[in-house]
């Protein structure tokens, strides 16, 4: 049998078998180190490489390019979970397509070989392929047009700035705080070994833990409805908000911000955001109207303690001045 055809069958049939029979095994409810979708994907790639190696299959570069491109598509569309947003999917696929192009154009010979079937199809040497192509193209264009003009009721996406630049100072309860130099007054006697006491708040041992405990109480009285009892932004009300409440576990939120920044955000809430951060769409109230200054600082202390992050400091990065 034609080796190109064998290679094609190895890919298509293999993918069908893997996707329908093996994929479900690797996606159990309890994800393990072996039984997970990414190991499955690596197995599939290994299957392709090994089969081609054992059967000594050397498909033409155009088909190799197609395989490579399809593997990327399969990964981003079906393997990567949870599904990624459309904008990111497109971006990733553009990257992957560029990579595929670099692969097929890495030297003039492979590129010539890649172009050959395309040119032959266009000039009519591959009559059958030309008929399929010329039939499929208008249908695809028509379908694309239909999809584009079909009314959609989704909210438009917006480029919202999540961490806007804070003002130089903020006034809370009549006192002005310069954000660059303000520190949490309750961050005292921190020994950096507080993780050992997790999840038990041994408030009697350290003054620091006492403040953390108080902050935790305030958090569970006020904040956890949205920010979640695990501080992961998945509180019971979180699903009705857009933007969703901040996920403090994520390394890109409080972990990379100064405590003073959080203080400003908590005190002023959604309405205190600058325009670039769409203050009209944030549901967070200005907590200065509900909590006193000390309570705000304690909540912040608790958030850092619970997540294990350290607030950002700029003390060691001074300028030459």
């Amino acid at each position: 049998m034609n080796k190109t055809l064998v290679s094609f069958l190895v890919f298509v049939v293999g993918l069908a078998v893997f996707h329908n029979a093996i994929f479900p095994i690797f996606t159990p409810k309890e994800i393990g180190w072996i039984l997970n979708r990414y190991v499955y994907f690596l197995l599939f790639v290994a299957y392709l490489i090994i089969t081609h190696f054992v059967l000594r299959l050397k498909p033409p570069i155009a088909m190799m390019g197609l395989f490579v491109w399809s593997i990327g598509f399969y990964f981003y569309k079906f393997v990567l979970y949870p599904p990624i947003p459309w904008t990111l999917f497109i971006t990733y696929m553009v990257m992957w397509s560029i990579g595929t192009f670099l692969y097929i154009s890495q030297d003039p010979e492979t590129f010539r070989e890649f172009r050959k079937p395309i040119v032959k199809t266009i000039v009519g040497e591959y009559k059958f392929a030309q008929i399929i192509l010329l039939t499929a193209m208008p249908i695809l264009v028509g379908f694309g047009t239909y999809k584009t003009i079909y009314p959609s009721y989704q909210e438009p996406v917006e480029l919202r700035t999540v961490h806007p630049a804070p003002p130089a100072t903020t006034k809370v309860h009549g006192k002005t705080y310069p954000l660059e130099s303000t520190n949490n007054p309750f961050r005292v006697d921190e020994q950096d070994n507080y993780k050992d006491s997790f999840p038990f708040l041994d408030a009697d041992k350290h003054e620091y833990m006492k403040y953390v405990t108080e902050g935790g109480t305030i958090f569970f009285q006020n904040c956890h409805y949205c920010h979640g009892d695990q501080l992961n932004g998945l509180g019971m009300f979180s699903h009705v908000f857009n933007p969703t409440p901040a996920n403090f576990i994520d390394p890109g939120t409080i972990a990379m911000l100064q405590e003073a920044f959080i203080f400003w955000r908590v005190s002023k809430g959604g309405p205190g955001l600058p325009n670039e951060s769409t203050p009209w769409s944030s549901a967070m109230p200005p907590w200065e109207e509900h909590l006193n200054t000390e309570e705000i600082w304690k909540v912040i202390l608790f958030e850092y303690w619970y997540t294990g992050w350290h607030p950002r400091t700029f003390g060691t990065e001074g300028s030459e001045g």
Partner: protein
């Protein structure tokens, strides 16, 4: 490698590394040196201030008192603002009468276009002498061993200088247009800047005169000074002088922009405090300078490369094809050498921005400019793709390269994976339905790529991969004969594997560290990458001793894809340069001079991403149109010269065989 002579590659690489070191070493050590010098200076100033104050106290009333102001940036030993005698007027509160405008376009846009065009051309004319310096030096060094190649280098340097000469006048004209635009449309602000920078502006003008003088002697004395060996060295030294003056010119002009962004040497009212060096040497001056020099080299390389690529594609004769293919290669070689350290200089600049005002740093990286930074990430990726594509295609025409071509696909895979990591945004654009499907604003897997630890790891791996590709290119046609070849190869492998492991380890480790310590990890990561560059290149070149060649590079056989990659590089870089310039300038938001002179014009707003993109594209197209004209003008004299003295044109090596 760069032709027939196998030593030329070593000389060429050495020349480039030295040239790079000349720029990088002061940049890297300037902090430490500057601090020391600054400490002494501050001490002297404080002593002077005390002396003057004591004198005033003794002299008593009736004497004119000197008013002392506090510097907005510089601090003394104890961290208090540095004091200086008030020597200027306070910054004006600008009103409607301080701004002029035309009906057809906002003043800010006109100034932007004028500024950007001048900068593009300035960048090109500063870069070309650097090229010429290196290429002429190599030409002189190889004269005895290979006169044909030497003549080829000399001709290339001369040709480049010819184009640069036309571009030089063009730059001056654009500078004049910029100055008039500034004076006429922003008279109030210009008056303030002129008040502060008065002596700098005069020195700048004088330096421009010196630059012109040296440039004309350098160019018009080319043939005459080539006759004698000693004179030729003098001529080459002139190129060093030319570059030194050019660098000083650029640094002086930079001081205006860096002062606007992060002022120093004035008090909070904007009054000059008597020390012009403080005003010039504000906190961003050094990083911007180094970043611009490297950027100029890449930009210049891109333009020369694109020029040569165009001629290569349209060449009528084999000889022409061979020549321009070779020019493409030299230009790309230089551009890639500049491209590799460029991101590091960028990091240094951003670090200083954060140190100056955290707010400004957040506005750039996480705030209103963050989306532009994502676009920047994509553009940088394109540059690396273009560079690697050129190297792969270039390598394929070298005899003996089949030994290494099989690794190309793995390098591409690595590039794509790291690039995917590099450009994954922390905040993803999505619809509410997608947000629900994802279960939160952050993706549990790719969400980890949104922070700096992942980005640093990715960019360092991308650069390391490009360096590896470059080393393979270097040795593609070499049959290594040194007895320690195996040991050498093992060392190179160990350096690269070790570097990759170290970069990945540091990246992962960063997730477990507080943010301020995590920032520090970028230093060992960068050091690791630079180690691969310097140690890898050094070992690689050492192994070429007594090597045999599988055959010369077949100049004139570069593939079209590889040639188009050069256009991609050149255009992407032009656009990227405009983008980053816009970001750096626009981060001042509604200030002319940050926190000192407020922009009260009707144009004091931040553009939407789309509008900014249109302006950048316009500037890119506009400048390339001008480049085409300048190159065309340059080619007019070129044709004449060839017609007059065809014998003087050296024939490429392979044509002679």
């Amino acid at each position: 490698m760069l032709g027939k002579n196998k030593r030329s590659i070593a000389t060429f690489s050495l020349g480039l590394i030295l040239a790079m070191a000349i720029y990088l070493v002061p940049g890297m050590t300037s902090d430490a040196i500057a601090k020391e010098v600054f400490a002494e200076q501050v001490f002297a100033e404080e002593a002077f201030a005390k002396e003057v104050m004591a004198e005033e106290a003794v002299e008593g009333e009736g004497e004119a008192e000197i008013e002392w102001g506090q510097d907005v940036f510089y601090k003394d030993w104890e961290g208090n603002p540095l004091k200086g005698p008030v020597s200027g007027f306070p910054a004006p509160e600008l009103g409607e009468s301080d701004y002029n405008n035309y009906e057809f376009a906002p003043s800010r846009m006109l100034l932007w276009v004028a500024n950007q065009q001048h900068l593009y051309f300035g960048s090109f004319v500063l870069a070309v002498p650097i090229f010429c310096m290196i290429i002429e030096f190599i030409g002189i060094r190889t004269k005895e061993e290979d006169p044909v190649m030497s003549a080829k280098y000399d001709r290339l340097a001369h040709d480049l200088m010819k184009v640069s000469l036309t571009a030089y006048s063009w730059t001056a004209i654009l500078g004049g247009i910029l100055l008039f635009t500034f004076i006429t449309l922003f008279p109030g602000f210009f008056k303030y800047m002129a008040g502060i920078f008065r002596p700098v502006m005069h020195v700048y003008a004088l330096m421009f005169l010196a630059e012109s003088g040296v440039l004309y002697v350098y160019y018009y004395g080319w043939d005459r000074m080539s006759e004698d060996k000693f004179l030729k060295w003098i001529h080459c030294s002139l190129s060093v002088l030319l570059n030194l003056i050019g660098t000083v010119l650029m640094y002086l002009a930079n001081s205006w922009a860096t002062f606007m962004q992060a002022p120093g040497g004035i008090d909070s009212q904007g009054r000059f405090l008597g020390n012009i060096w403080h005003v010039i040497h504000s906190t961003l001056w050094n990083p911007v300078g180094v970043h611009r020099i490297l950027g100029n080299i890449v930009f210049g390389g891109g333009i020369v490369g694109a020029y040569a690529a165009y001629h290569y594609l349209t060449a009528k004769t084999e000889e022409e094809r061979a020549h321009y293919d070779w020019v493409c290669y030299v230009a790309m070689f230089i551009a890639i050498f500049g491209l590799i350290p460029l991101p590091f200089a960028g990091y240094w600049l951003m670090k200083e921005v954060y140190a100056f005002r955290q707010q400004m740093g957040i506005t750039l990286m996480g705030g209103i400019m963050a989306w532009l930074f994502i676009i920047q990430a994509v553009m940088i990726g394109l540059l690396f793709f273009g560079a690697n594509s050129y190297l792969h295609n270039g390598m394929s025409r070298v005899k003996g390269s089949h030994r290494y071509m099989k690794y190309c696909k793995y390098m591409i895979l690595l590039l794509i994976c790291t690039f995917t990591m590099w450009m994954t945004p922390h905040t993803i654009v999505m619809t509410p339905a997608e947000l629900k499907a994802m279960g939160g604003a952050q993706h549990p897997v790719i969400g980890h790529f949104g922070v700096m630890s992942a980005k640093n790891t990715a960019v360092n791996l991308m650069i390391t991969t490009t360096i590896l590709c470059f080393l393979l290119y270097q040795k593609a046609n070499k049959k290594i004969n040194v007895p320690w070849a195996t040991v050498g190869n093992c060392w190179i492998s160990a350096i690269f594997v070790g570097a990759a492991l170290n970069i990945i380890f540091l990246g992962v480790y960063g997730y477990f560290l507080p943010a301020n310590q995590r920032v520090g990890l970028s230093v060992p990561q960068v050091t690791t990458t630079l180690t691969t560059l310097f140690a890898g290149t050094a070992i690689n070149i050492s192994m070429f001793k007594d090597s045999e060649s599988y055959g010369d590079i077949q100049w004139g056989t570069q593939s079209k894809v590889g040639t188009y990659a050069i256009f991609l590089l050149a255009i992407s870089f032009t656009w990227l340069m405009g983008l980053m310039g816009y970001i750096r300038s626009a981060v001042r938001l509604f200030w002319h001079v940050t926190e000192v002179v407020r922009d009260n014009s009707v144009d004091a707003y931040t553009l939407t991403i789309g509008e900014a993109g249109k302006m950048l594209t316009f500037n890119t197209l506009f400048v390339w149109t001008q480049f085409v004209v300048v190159f065309w003008v340059g080619s007019l004299t070129g044709k004449k010269a060839v017609a007059k003295a065809p014998e003087g044109v050296p024939v490429p090596a392979q044509q002679q065989q």
